[in-house]
Amino acid sequence: MKLHVNAELREVQASTLAQALPELGFDCPALATALNGTFVPREVRASTELTDGDRLEVLAPMQGG
């Protein structure tokens, strides 16, 4: 299926969020996820099913004021 990952269209084989992250190259533990604008806690990623066209945001620590 196709997902909008950080505003970029990506193809994934995975069916859950937990599987999709390593497939998309996100291996670092210091990241947080939101699916279609809603926060998905780390412990819920494995039970979160993905649907074609979902918008996934993957955020990481960054410099800020």
């Binding site: 950080n6 996100f26 670092c28 210091a30 780390r42 990481a60 620590p61 800020g64 004021g65």
Partner: protein, 255 residues
């Protein structure tokens, strides 16, 4: 100073953005003596761009105050705060809800709404707000235990544009920790905030964009200490006219 029950010694809160290099950031943190550093969340790249920064910051041992910078709605800010809490493992959140893209002025209505919801969810909210007393009251009513009014627009370095309003805020909220957030340019601006009785100053660009960020971090810390000491020492009242400081009594007649 106590912020949400945590004892904090340094009255300087420092931002982590815009430094010439990561080494400048860590040295500026050390030179400033700060115990609280602000960070943000941005889209991760597949190369793991955020991990290196986070490792560097963790090694400094400072407390992390994540922000919701760039959010324009309460919903965005709440979701960002939830994501920040998971990554940084802290209930603290510097709540920014931007209302105007030119001056990065807070949208105080969405700010109050987001503050109430985040408090309900167990966050300890540090709201970036204006110097409006009524908004301050509403934020306290929403559960905030700290207020962070702006001194001037973010990144402008204009100093305290409205010291009268900041003074009124200090008088109106004598028991609330008040932190001037944004607008500081020079050490004298930070000292002025402290002389007004503010509990602390949060700044970023003034240090990061100085020619010598590490020297400026030290200067800001010194100015904040001096301003606080001056406030505690109860400054004299200003007066319109001169008053001789040297005694008149005993003045010689030499003409």
């Amino acid at each position: 100073m106590q912020l949400y029950g945590t004892d904090i010694t340094s009255r300087l809160l420092l931002g982590s953005a815009q430094y010439p290099s990561p080494a400048h950031l860590t040295k500026a943190i050390a030179a400033s003596g700060t115990e609280i550093v602000t960070v943000s969340l941005r889209r991760e790249t597949a190369q793991g761009s955020g991990a290196g920064f986070w490792d560097i910051l963790r090694q400094t041992g400072v407390r992390i105050l994540p922000n919701t910078a760039g959010c324009h709605t309460a919903t965005e800010a709440i979701t960002t705060a939830q994501m920040a809490r998971e990554i940084f493992a802290t209930p603290w959140i510097k709540l920014e809800v931007i209302g105007h893209s030119d001056n990065l002025q807070p949208d105080v209505f969405a700010l109050v709404e987001a503050a109430a919801e985040l408090t309900r969810q167990g966050f300890q909210v540090f709201p970036y707000t204006t110097d409006d007393l009524v908004v301050g009251d509403r934020l306290l009513g929403a559960g905030c235990e700290v207020l962070m009014p702006w001194g001037a627009p973010i990144g402008s370095g204009q100093g305290l544009r409205n010291p009268d309003a900041l003074r009124a805020m200090r008088a109106h909220f004598p028991e609330v920790p008040l932190i001037v957030d944004a607008g500081i340019g020079c050490p004298s601006d930070a000292a002025q905030a402290m002389e007004l009785g503010y509990d602390a100053v949060l700044l970023n660009t003034a240090v990061a964009k100085a020619g010598d960020p590490i020297g400026m971090a030290r200067a800001m810390a010194t100015a904040i200490d001096a301003g606080r000491m001056g406030f505690n020492a109860d400054p004299m009242e200003a007066r319109e006219m001169a008053a001789p400081s040297t005694p008149i009594l005993g003045l010689a007649e030499l003409v």
